[in-house]
């Protein structure tokens, strides 16, 4: 009786953590797809790395109980906690060093009817810029 109750508590706590973690992981992936430019996408990826990963690993630790498996899962959580901000900073730093400009100011997702002009407009600009530079250099 008592053991069964403990098992139910274990199951429900683990389920809460796993469902929450999976939600944050999926939200991070959706954000990486939806957000408009590179710097804002980094934020969504960071969300996956922090709360999503930690919650999933916590759920698994609850399942594993007191054992070597849970120690190893704790080690994974610790490693991700330390390395993911460093990797994020390295990616952003490299992009900043390569003079990738962030889009600043307010942004709203385009209404479906407006999608084509918004998407087509930046492309010729991007192609035109290098040409202009080469012309200046040639002169």
């Amino acid at each position: 009786m008592n053991a069964e109750l403990l098992q139910w508590i274990q199951f429900s706590v683990s389920a809460i953590f796993l469902v929450g973690g999976v939600f944050f992981v999926i939200a991070g992936a959706v954000g990486v797809l939806r957000l408009p430019d590179f710097y804002t996408r980094m934020h969504a990826a960071g969300m996956t790395d922090t709360l999503g990963a930690e919650m999933i690993l916590l759920g698994l630790i609850v399942q594993a109980g007191l054992s070597q498996t849970s120690l190893k899962l704790t080690l994974i959580a610790f490693l991700l906690f330390l390395t993911s901000p460093t990797a994020t900073h390295a990616v952003v730093g490299a992009a900043h060093h390569a003079k990738l400009k962030p889009k600043l100011g307010k942004y709203r997702a385009p209404v479906p009817g407006e999608v084509p002009p918004v998407k087509i407009a930046p492309k010729p600009k991007l192609k035109a810029k290098p040409k202009a530079r080469t012309k200046k250099k040639a002169k």
């Binding site: 098992q7 080690l75 991700l80 993911s84 990738l100």
Partner: protein, 105 residues
Amino acid sequence: METSLYYLNVGSAMFLLIGMALLLGRLLSGPTLYDRVLAVNSFGTKTVLFLAVFSLIIGRQDGIDIAILYALMNFIATIAVLKFFRYSSLDISMERGSGSEEKAP
């Protein structure tokens, strides 16, 4: 009880796979190089989580060791790739005290 835990783990593994598939979209369509690096890095994090869940599904500890290795390799791979992009060489020492400002050619 065992079976409900099993189905819980299988379900979260499936959702992790869906998240990885979404990231593959960004990896294939990323307009800049850095978007792709970001997608690979995030994909690697999800792979670690998937391996951890998967090793509990099959009930063996070996998957967790692989997940630890994968977490470390993913980090080192990201740093190495970015260092290569930034300095266009891996043969530059990043010793302490040499400063973060690049003295590279």
